[in-house]
Amino acid sequence: MTKTLNKFALSAAALLASGSALAATGAVADEFKWMTFAVFGVIIAITMGITYWAAKHTHTTSEFYAAGRSVSGVQNGWAIAGDYLSAASFLGIAGLISLYGYDGFMYSVGWLVAYITVLLVIAEPCRNIGKFTMGDILAFRNEPKKVKTVAALSTITVSTFYLTAQMVGGGVLIKTLIGIDYEISVIGVGILMLAYVVFGGMKATTWVQIIKASLLVTASILLVMFVWMPYGFSLPDYLSAVVGDSKVQAQVAKLLGDKATTMTAAELGQRFLEPGLFLKSPIDQISLGMALVLGTAGMPHILMRFFTVPTAQAARLSVIWAMAIIGGFYVLTLFLGTGAAMLVGPAKIASIDPGGNMAGPLLAQYLGGGADSMLGNFFLAFVAAVAFATIVAVVAGLVLAAASAMAHDIYVGVIRGDHATPQEQVVAARVASVIVGIMAITVGIMAKGQNVAHLVALAFAVAASSNLPAVFLTLYWKKCNTGGIIAGMLVGAITAIALVMVSPNMTYPQAVIKAAKKVIEGEPASEAKPAVEAKPGEGFACELFAVCKKAEPAKHAELAKPAKPGTREKLVTLQAKLDAATDEAEKKTIQGDLEKVKKAHDKAEGDLKKFEGQTTSMVGLEKPFFLLKNPGLISIPLGFLAVIIGSLLYRDQRAEDMWDELYVRQNTGIHAEAASAH
């Protein structure tokens, strides 16, 4: 095994090295790329060493899936933080704060909120009842084969959606950071992650998470020290510097548009600390919030972490640590985000990546001395390497969860009827990991260039609507039984998926074509419009489905606007300007503008070509039928309802008889390890 492992390490290193040869442009300048690869190399070497050590200690099923229940509470806390702090929360939230101020925090608070439900309601009883997977929890007092099949299907669905989003996001991120080709990034991440999971199982995955979480926290603390130091570590001084910064004020003015004209500079700065610059529809926010809060509690890779600790006390301790680490980290993102807004500037951040993902890396570069300095690029390289480790670690956790559902629930539980030797089980787990890993790489490459944001929403919505009602009710409701579990999981998952298919997340060709035409042709002059009063809708359902009239907010009076030229016209005028210009500096700025316009023009043209002749989305709709981006508001209650109705119709005396036993077990965790004897 050692040999194969070395080969894996070598090929992964070779991949990364060949990446440098193919490198296009990224945030890291070409001449400093070696430094990024050196930092990558060190991190990969350390994690490979751990995997080698873990592989020697991974022989039984319990060792493979649950690290032999030998992880301490503190270690598990760090590992949960590692699982949780994905690249999205590391780079994304700092980016959102740098671009939108207060609304960026909603993402950090929103996600941390979820952890309370995990601990108080789900985590501890699950630890006490389950063995390795969510299927085990549900099988405790229901018919094992049936519920394990449904649970495994749901786990694989959730993991695949989330995994695809992570792979695509990771590929794009690595490309933006260091310019390695997208396909090579995806394959590199996939192979590394497979090496950790296949050879080291949960033990290696846990340690990779711990290392990554500590790197992330260290990097952030260092950056924050540098940002905050000039203000003598005083909060009010720092904050007034942010509010008073002209780049921040310019950003707010840009976001507010016409409304900003009457505001003073100080008011604009203050507005950065208030909501409403990014999030607009409150119902959609509540729906998203529900899916996030309840979905986290149903995420299989998070649930699985609680099987790795030896006692209930350790499970509780691990959540305190996880909360403290994640909470502390988000407090740091306040400084990272606002620091990036003040020092680098929102305009520059958005010019490299419109989503703001480069705020953290660019801040690191600035603090080290800027784009031309050695130290600045070392900082950038370090942050890039941490981001890379982050992606690999999160993906590893997800693959392990999906593989355990496949191998432990379906193969061992259903196909072999729980009769398989430990060796066979470990082999099955490894084979399943390879299958899931290869699938993740393939799907990741196929989904190149797709918008994957809705996949994350989908993963959480399915977890919240399918997994959570089933797990929650089997733990807390005496009458819950097999019929309810199956009905609830299927109804929850199917509604969530179906609603997303008809939601604004999908691509609607007519809207894309219209927007592209607007870019190319420009807008005609418009006449002055009087103010319009808010119109009430025809009921709450109209806010959710496109069947009747939605409420309309009041509109301010608009002044007459001159026609806006499209890119086609702009290209011509700019070219003429360029030809006429004589001054070198002037020529350069015009050249820059010209390139920007050309880029926008090409993109619009590309969209037009891509969707030419299409009028409907994938499922044949011209316009979204479901108006929210997230289906949680509807699919979560439906999932719960289906469990209840299914249970009442199905009647199962055994499930009720087992209730007392479950009750004692979920409270005390006595015999947690010998869980499957039923």
Binding site: Y102, V109, E274, Q313, V664, T668
Partner: protein, 85 residues
């Protein structure tokens, strides 16, 4: 294993504490976000209060809730003789 009176009592206490803490959790989350503009007129440590709660305050409350729950449950385990060694 039969359900003893002791277990019943333990479970009830557990549920009650969970409900109380979920209430704290709710208060630290939704009203604070909903009324952020009003809260911003108050000042805390030099920050507008609403902004401070979103940036740090709510997070600190969450960690405290979790810490308190773990401490309470560990004690309850011991008192009811269900603690794992």
């Amino acid at each position: 294993m039969p359900l003893s009176k002791k277990h019943q009592e333990y479970w009830n206490k557990n549920l009650r504490m969970t409900a109380v803490l979920l209430l704290v959790w709710f208060l630290a989350t939704f009203p604070v976000i909903w009324f952020v503009r009003d809260l911003n007129s108050l000042s805390f440590l030099g920050f507008p209060l609403g902004f401070y709660m979103a940036a740090q305050g709510s997070l600190i409350v969450y960690v405290a809730v979790v810490w308190f729950y773990a401490r309470y449950m560990n004690k309850l385990d011991k008192n009811h003789g269900v603690a794992e060694e």
